[in-house]
């Protein structure tokens, strides 16, 4: 029988002990004595969130296919267990073997959002691994970072031995082969990292020194090891239809955020919204073969017993085989009680038909993400969604029986004016009015509109990476202004208004576009007790402010400054495929509220073509078909 790392007494005194016992359905069981490499994969947040992440399931599967490797998992202990582990000096352990992580060869940490940075330090400290990479010895695990935040790894560079930039499918096997060879040859940690640095996609921060200008901006990166590359090229898996896909994903005992089969239908997005980092760093858009996906769906439902399947992608409507795939899933599994969920779907006749078939209309709500309240501002961000499309989509949905609509907006977008903010209130009201166009006897009660606003955070590798970000005070003024405008609307009682916390967004902004000097601030904030910052009940703004102050680091320098066009960014060391000149072109077009066609309409030379595949090389017939849908609109692009 499996031994547990924690005693009954501890497990019975913490919330949800199932977070810490492992043993889930489809957990891989290996004898650690029979493997050469022990790898621990970490999602630095609570179990229920981490277990819902597809990327870890993919890597878990890839690494465990190797007979010489045992890949296990760890998540952040919740604050109750955190306290007990410190008191009793219990080292953090992996769920599978329940062995201490400090004895592993690798600790791989996925970086999905900036607000998890203090949780990374928690995992390291509770594991009894030195927090700073420079303090680690030959027997400490090699700490790897990966995921979207590794595209600007600088704020956390001091805590990692190296970062894997890009998609995990391509290079993990080579990383482990080299490790094994180094280990067998008795090579040192340093020698292994030198070999790693020479692989494409690997960034070893210790091999670079950063110079700063007098004004505090980055002057440049100086290599202190000649074998390290000048720039690190992101890794892209170009063959998604034969790529690994975890057909036996783990099924947690407790309800995770994603309690369903997740089918990734494509990677990347053709749209090019200018605020969206995912839309830029996952270029080029690559589709998976629908036949492959059907096979995966069947196997995954069988191996998990899940009652729901969800299609995952940044913009499902752009998947060229969507109708075929969705109708297949409904026909094949609908009768067996399997629910099908389709996030990120454009509202049109097809999606309403599908949703009518798979969901209870009375309970579900429709979601639109106009992101901005006015057409002008939607053009600035290149959202490509018109008011007519939103209103006609809503009208169709109302006629089909829906009466609840969720709207997502951002405030603080570049060039935003009071008119744009008022536009959020007006658009919400117009949608409500659309509902009352339906004859009274055909309505399903009252309409409910929920308008949520988040504060715009400029991200690296987006056209808005040069932008100034609003301060919390400016945000709050805007939020109050919008509140007052919503109250002026005819249907104000049908409109519910939600907003995000401004301080959290401010910190996210600093960490997103920060540099190496922030490592100390993060360290100090963590030492002062900051943890689970993305959980509003745990976020302690004052402690963060104090950490910035004590280190003489100004938040305004990172957030409240329009960056000059020729500024060197901390993340310039990374080559994400999209070129800086393309992003700058896009930024200029944004300021002129000029839209840019999507990848299927016209290639605008973003730089991702060098990966030699995906949408950049799609069948020209498809391209013609796509542009045919534009109904004679002229597609042009001038840089």
């Amino acid at each position: 029988m499996r031994k547990l790392a924690l005693s009954d007494e501890i497990l019975l005194s913490v919330e949800k002990p199932a977070r810490y016992i492992g043993g889930e359905v489809n957990m891989r069981v290996k004898d650690p004595k029979n493997v050469d490499i022990r790898f621990c994969m970490c999602f630095p947040d609570i179990y229920e969130i981490g277990m819902s992440h597809l990327g870890i399931q993919i890597l878990y599967d890839i690494l465990n296919r190797r007979e010489d490797t045992y890949c296990e998992r760890v998540y952040s202990p919740w604050v109750d267990l955190d306290k007990l582990m410190r008191e009793k000096k219990i080292p953090l352990f992996a769920l599978e073997s329940q062995d201490p992580i400090k004895n592993f060869d690798f600790l791989g940490i996925t970086l999905q959002y900036e607000m998890c940075y203090t949780n990374i330090l928690q995992v390291l400290e509770l594991s009894h691994i030195p927090i700073y990479a420079k303090d680690r010895g030959e027997n400490d695990p090699i700490v790897i970072g990966g995921g979207p935040c590794s595209y600007n790894p600088e704020p956390i560079a001091d805590f990692f031995d190296f970062f894997y930039i890009g998609e995990g499918e391509t290079a993990y096997n080579e990383l482990l082969d080299i490790y094994k060879a180094c280990k067998n040859a008795g090579k040192s940690r340093r020698e292994y990292l030198e070999r790693v640095a020479q692989m494409e996609g690997m960034y070893v921060p210790a091999f670079y020194d950063v110079d700063y200008n007098e004004d505090g901006t980055v002057k440049g990166f100086d290599k202190n090891y000649d074998g390290a590359p000048d720039r690190v090229m992101k890794q892209v898996e170009m063959n998604l239809s034969e790529a690994y896909y975890p057909t036996k994903p783990l099924v947690p005992f407790i309800k995770a955020t994603q309690d369903r089969v997740v089918l990734e239908i494509q990677r990347g997005c053709i749209r090019g919204c200018r605020f969206c980092q995912a839309g830029m760093i996952y270029r080029p858009t690559r589709e998976r073969d629908p036949e492959y996906l059907k096979k995966c769906a069947y196997e995954m439902l069988k191996s998990t017993g899940h009652e729901e399947i969800s299609l995952s992608s940044l913009s499902s409507s752009d998947y060229s085989q969507l109708q075929e795939l969705v109708y297949f899933l409904i026909d094949e599994f609908g009768s067996k009680g399997v629910n099908i969920s389709l996030p990120s779907l454009r509202i049109d006749a097809f999606s309403l038909d599908v949703m009518g078939k798979v969901q209870d209309i009375r309970k579900s709500s429709l979601t639109f993400a106009p992101e901005a309240g006015s057409q002008r501002l939607r053009d600035v961000i290149n959202k490509g969604l018109t008011e007519e499309a939103i209103l006609s989509g809503a009208a169709q949905a109302f006629e089909s029986g829906w009466n609840r609509v969720k709207l997502y907006f951002m405030m603080g977008l570049p060039t935003e004016t009071e008119e744009d903010i008022e536009g959020i209130a007006i658009l919400s009201d117009k949608i409500a009015r659309e509902y009352y166009e339906i004859p009274k006897d055909q309505r399903q009660g009252k309409v409910s509109i929920v308008s949520s606003t988040s504060f715009f955070v400029p991200k690296p590798f987006t056209p808005f990476q040069w932008s100034r970000m609003d301060t919390p005070e400016e945000y709050l003024d805007k939020q109050r202004y919008l509140r007052s405008k919503i109250n002026e609307q005819l249907n104000k009682k049908s409109i519910k208004f939600n907003w995000h916390e401004a301080e959290l967004s401010e910190l996210e902004g600093v960490l997103a576009r920060g540099d190496r000097r922030l490592s100390k601030v993060i360290y100090d904030a963590y030492m002062a007790g900051c943890l689970y910052d993305s959980w509003s009940e745990h976020f302690d703004y004052d402690k963060w402010l104090k950490a910035f102050e004590e280190n003489g680091i100004s938040i305004a320098f990172y957030n409240s400054r329009e960056r000059s066009e020729d500024e060197v960014f901390p993340w310039d060391i990374i080559d994400a495929g999209v070129s800086k000149s393309f992003l700058l072109r896009e930024y200029r077009r944004a300021k002129n509220a000029t839209e840019t066609p999507n990848c299927r309409e016209l290639c605008v030379g973003c730089g991702a073509k060098k990966f030699a595949g995906g949408v950049c090389f799609e069948d020209k017939n498809l391209l013609a078909k796509a542009s045919g849908e534009l109904k004679g609109q002229e597609v042009s692009y001038e840089g």
Binding site: M1, R2, L4, D8, E9, L11, L12, S13, P17, A18, I21, G22, G23, E24, V25, M27, V251, F253, I254, K255, L301, K302, S303, T304, G305, H306, E307, K336, G337, D360, R362, K363
Partner: protein, 295 residues
């Protein structure tokens, strides 16, 4: 058709709460390839009912779940296929098809039938019970020594103390509910006490097992008990009233025992393991374990 499954829950799975066990079995049936009956309506869910939800931290040799299936196979094959998709800590040991209620008969759930259950309560290693009046505090490491003071081992002392506790006519405790507190005499709700496995099993053989017979077409795997065994060997078998009419938790008995002995009650010190669940036959008044009950 409705079927009843008997299963063991042990090891790390004792930390999985009842609602999660339900979700687990829903998914397990789908993995095993058995189509279950669904409730009608827009939010269909499987027709499934558990006899007596087990608390977090408890293990069991006899959990029962009734489920509606569209079709099924031979009991032996069903058990094998379901066990193939189980994780360590869940093990199906019994299966039978339930008799359909007659037309004018009310549908009954397993839960409404439960009247008694057998438990084994063991002192976990690492908790001291050497000198009863000294209390029971966790040891830093190691086990309580079997040292003999007053010429008695700790096992003997425990048995003697528990016997004298059980010999009382009135064991009154304060039962706390969300709304109120009331004093209850739990003595009549304890119907069997034994300290020895052989004695307990003989009692079963000559008692409830003798008075009932297996259901036709049912299948039961011969399995070892999954109760954790502790070196200190301090343990007690008990039969307690369980169910909607009268319900006594073994934890409450141990708390009452500790209070009686003036020992601070430490809920973590005791491992509770369920051995069997019974219903009382309306006509004969005999106890019948749920795997021997046709409906």
């Amino acid at each position: 058709m409705k079927v009843r499954l008997k299963f063991q829950k042990y090891g790390a799975m004792k930390f999985i709460g009842h609602l999660d066990v339900m979700r687990y079995f829903q998914k397990a049936f789908r993995r095993a390839g058995y189509d279950s009956e669904y409730t009608k309506g827009f939010n269909p869910h499987q027709i499934m009912s558990f006899a007596a939800p087990l608390g977090v931290g408890l293990t069991s040799d006899a959990e029962y779940v009734d489920i509606g299936l569209i079709s099924c196979e031979e009991p032996e094959i069903m058990i094998r296929k379901i066990n193939e998709v189980m994780t360590e800590g869940f093990y199906v040991t019994g299966f039978h098809i339930l008799s359909e209620p007659a037309e004018n008969e009310k549908k009954i759930t397993a839960m409404s039938l439960v009247s008694s259950a057998d438990y084994l309560v063991s002192l976990k290693d690492g908790y001291l019970l050497d000198n009863l009046s000294d209390g029971m505090e966790p040891l830093d490491d190691g086990y309580p020594s079997g040292s003999e003071s007053d010429g008695m081992t700790s096992i003997e002392k425990f048995r003697e103390a528990f016997r004298s506790f059980y010999a009382k006519n009135d064991i009154t405790i304060l039962k706390r509910t969300k709304k109120s507190e009331m004093s209850v005499n739990i003595k009549p709700m304890i119907t069997l006490v034994s300290f020895d496995e052989i004695e307990y099993k003989e009692n079963l053989r000559d008692g409830v097992l003798y008075l009932s017979k297996p259901v036709d077409g049912s299948y039961n795997l011969e399995t070892e008990s999954k109760a954790d065994v502790y070196e200190n060997a301090i343990k007690v078998y008990m039969r307690l009233d369980t169910g909607s009419a009268a319900n006594l938790k073994p934890e409450l008995v141990m708390e009452a025992f500790c209070n009686e002995m003036s020992i601070p009650y430490n809920p973590y010190a005791w491992q509770v393991h369920r051995l069997e669940i019974y219903t009382r036959d309306e006509t004969s008044g005999n106890l019948i374990s749920l795997d021997r009950l046709e409906r």
